[in-house]
Symmetry: C2
Subunit: 273 residues, 2 copies
């Protein structure tokens, strides 16, 4: 592979992009699993959310995000947005030779490995659910699998506002999840990067017998495997550097980011795509 | 004024723009008050919402919307988005000689005329509330007025999903509005074009003694006055034509638009700004 011939390629950062905030749950998992990697995060906050927008628009925006990260000389790109993963990854992989990975395949693989009865639930944005991309990915991995899905539009705003454990979050979760939890599923994919923030409430509503798959966590594990295979792990001893770029003014980004990452962040810069 | 010299200027359409869907409540009021006017509506659905974005970004997007409507040869422009009205109207007025009116001033004037005790509430998006633009506009009109404001982030999604009268809407309204309704206000501005959809629930929570001002309705009345003053009313006998443009694929637009307008729409076309 051409890109492997570049000297010191392994020292380059990993590029991560999302429509805005949610991808930070994926970044968090990457920070934990790969503490020595330098990571560049791009949140397209001037155009968020992607989850309600059309396939064509999401592909266009994703290509612009990819190009920005390529200009920063990254060694790998993680599409930390379920909607962009559902619509755009195959297009992005044609543009560059470095590995591009979305959250869709790792999440689907984990669900197929986890389920015992082949009944899998999927919750996500309207875009992700309507795309049927999780369903198709899961069926490709296991022809016997049945997938039941549900869009949960309000979860994103609840997560961003920090309304994650109150009565409103619980009632909203009940409204969305009561039907799907009665389908006999034993596994459910959190198919939107905001949803891990609501994990406790979701679990409370659907019951402990249904195992939750966090696509972001699974993706971070997969990134580790790919970097190992390609001998691209950063071997530095010191902690990796984390830089954040956003397309809108970073006013509220710091505050919400702290909730999603569990730590304060600096190094946030506004860019135009 | 130069623009008045154009022949048959009064036959031209009124241009209305919004970040996406919410401005349809303003369009609806315009359709009712000015049934013979041709109206062109532009919803920037590829980049909605504006309410969570920065002043700079909202101004940039608003200028692009204005330019599109100018290319359609409109006789007047209505900024049917509270966030864009708060941030961008003075900039837009410098770009064109035709009248540009936002929802901010008509809403503020109506509140000042309505209040008996000079205590006015304002609810809106985070962008609108943080801009303090309603507060400043109200104080300019009445130095004795006190303004109490509250951002209600979740209301937009609730309105779009049609969750307007259920338990979740009521609890959410209680969470946001209990404090502000105890400030002694006798008037409250619905400072986001989505909020009229939740009028019943809002009124139930804050009580009938607090009068609600629908900025969209007030703006439609103001448009009528301006067109009369400038002798720009369309004198045609037939019903006006209504055309809709959106920046994203119009997939869900029809469905949500029907809820906001109370009628089915056709004539929806996608455009690039």
């Amino acid at each position: 592979m051409k890109s492997l011939q570049i000297k010191n390629l392994h020292k380059r950062p990993i590029g991560v992009f999302d429509s805005g905030i949610g991808g930070l749950t994926v970044a968090r998992a990457l920070f934990e699993i790969l503490p020595n990697e330098n990571i560049i995060y791009l949140g397209d906050t001037a155009r968020l959310p992607y989850g309600t927008k059309s396939k064509e628009t999401v592909i266009l925006y994703s290509i612009e995000c990819l190009k920005f990260l390529l200009s920063k000389k990254v060694k790998m790109i993680v599409v930390a947005c379920n909607t962009a993963s559902s619509f755009a990854v195959p297009f992005l992989q044609k543009i560059t030779k470095i590995p591009v990975i979305g959250v869709l395949i790792p999440g689907s693989e984990a669900a197929v490995n986890m389920t015992k009865n082949n009944k899998i639930g999927l919750i996500g944005t309207l875009g992700t659910v309507k795309s049927l991309s999780y369903k198709k990915a899961i069926i490709r991995l296991n022809k016997k699998a049945e997938v039941f899905s549900q869009a949960c539009s309000l979860f994103v705003q609840l997560a961003e506002d920090g309304w994650t454990d109150n009565k409103i979050a619980e009632l909203t979760a009940k409204e969305y999840l009561t039907d799907i939890s009665k389908k006999g599923i034993d596994t459910m994919i959190l198919g939107c990067t905001h949803y891990p923030i609501l994990k406790n409430t979701i679990s409370k509503v659907i019951g402990k017998n249904i195992k939750l798959i966090d696509s972001g966590e699974e993706t971070a594990k997969k990134v580790n495997i790919i970097l190992q295979e390609k001998k691209l792990l950063n071997t530095q001893k010191k902690k990796g550097e984390h830089r954040f770029f956003v397309t809108d003014f970073p006013n509220n980004f710091h505050q919400i980011a702290e909730r999603f990452l569990g730590k304060k962040i600096h190094n946030v810069k506004q860019v135009k795509l």
